[in-house]
Symmetry: C2
Subunit: 247 residues, 2 copies
DNA sequence: CGGTGCATTGATCAGAATCAATGATCGTGG
DNA sequence: CCACGATCATTGATTCTGATCAATGCACCG
């Protein structure tokens, strides 16, 4: 079920009362946490889920906050990050449609989360979700799967941060975005970059200047073309994939 | 139950038939995956567990191998790493007593694992473990907890790799080792560093030379003292903790 | 005792950071 | 509709941290 882009979230436009029946019309049902649920189980999940809308650059939660709510992203992009006391920032991930956020250790978020553009979230109160987990082991198993996937992605990012050059980092970033888009069933050679150069820099362990210079390099080399509306056209995917893996 | 160091694994010396009854005498029972199991459940777990011993620098498994077995470390240190085609290596973690390894995506290991020193592992065949998971949701929940903890640690390491200086990285490494030791109930101001400078460098995203120089700096500054047998005495923990967090 | 591998220290280099200026884009209000 | 200011992106000049290249030291082992 591919998504038709539009200014209004489908979840809100499809259902009479989205607060009570958010899941039935949910456009990311087959992507996120709920992928493993049957129709009747979904109804129960709907009962505890609440949709919220976050404006660009507004916080979702802060590191060290009580992890009272876990979220599925239904629209927009969220950035996760950690800060050092002097303000240095490391973005540990960008999340999009279908991604899950809020995994916690000791019931406390281990990172801060902020909206990149307008974000729609489907929130599950932790305590209620835990009750549901007890009854549906499938759900717990799904959470484990999600955490395992994220762990593998985190290890890949450690390889990037510890051992790749600026060029290789940016190439990896672009290729990964393309792949994430494909996983969400949104194919195409264009990728959407709602985040600023500063965000990209803090994700790749670089500065905005280096990110900008490397973009220019890739343009000059004809690997990419910058398009309207923060879009990037991937002109030579194979080459970027080679660069990304260090060739 | 603190461990008494020795050439023979306790699990082997305590039980008559360690292959059949490895868990009853397991010294990391309260640390690892099995922490959540009751005595009778442990017996079933014992039935599928197999102990193995890996010599220093020998592989446990390779990235992309079928993830047929998951492991708990009962003795020694294991390093996890990913490689780039040209040989650049990023170590994503060092595991010790009680740590779990083998989390997989699509039933394939997402990293390679190698023994640092002599390592004893308690292996659970994946298929048999999965059957057990179905019957003991507690076990699945524990796996989820473990994955969540590792994910938080991975994000902390991304902050280190992306945004910390060489000094801050080494200080973080030493402090984290001290804390890991405390979690395993092995307190003390000394930490044991079984891994080479090259391993530390590949973990911290540095070179052996930089690691060595930074060690020398810390010695000169009286934060640490190098002791016999690859041991390091932490002389000024508070100062190292400050440096680690960027102060 | 010599050899091998690892750690340390020194000299130089390079990639990315920093400092600085200019250019593009967007939203706002006149 | 355009002018203005603010913000963000790009480009250039210079610096600096850590990498690379090179030599020496040290410990363990046959």
């Amino acid at each position: 079920m591919p998504d038709v882009p539009g200014p209004l979230p489908k979840a809100l436009s499809r259902a009479a009362d989205p607060a009570l029946q958010p899941c039935a019309a949910c456009e990311v049902r087959e992507l996120g946490l709920c992928a493993v649920l049957e129709a009747n189980e979904l109804i129960e999940t709907a009962a505890i889920a609440r949709i919220s809308v976050i404006a660009p650059q507004q916080p979702v939660f802060f590191e060290h906050d009580d992890a009272d709510v876990l979220f599925n992203v239904t629209k927009g992009t969220v950035k996760l990050f950690k800060l050092l006391p002097d303000g240095r920032r490391q973005i540990t991930g960008f999340l999009g449609r279908g991604d899950f956020l809020g995994l916690a250790v000791n019931d406390v978020y281990s990172y801060s989360a902020e909206a990149v553009d307008e974000v729609h979230l489907c929130g599950f109160p932790r305590k209620k979700l835990e009750a549901l987990l007890k009854r549906y082991p499938k759900l717990e198993h799904r959470l484990f799967e999600i955490a395992s996937d994220e762990l593998a992605a985190a290890q890949e990012q450690m390889l990037l941060l510890g051992r790749k050059t600026a060029r290789e980092r940016l190439a990896s970033f672009l290729v990964n975005l393309l792949r994430a888009q494909e996983r969400r069933n949104e194919p195409g050679e264009q990728i959407f970059l709602p985040m600023s150069r500063a965000d990209i820099a803090d994700y790749l362990g670089l500065t905005t200047e280096t990110v900008s210079r490397t973009f220019s390099q890739f343009k000059r080399d004809q690997f990419i073309r910058l398009r309207e509306g923060a879009r990037v056209e991937i002109a030579d995917r194979a080459r970027l994939e080679d660069i990304a893996e260090g060739a």
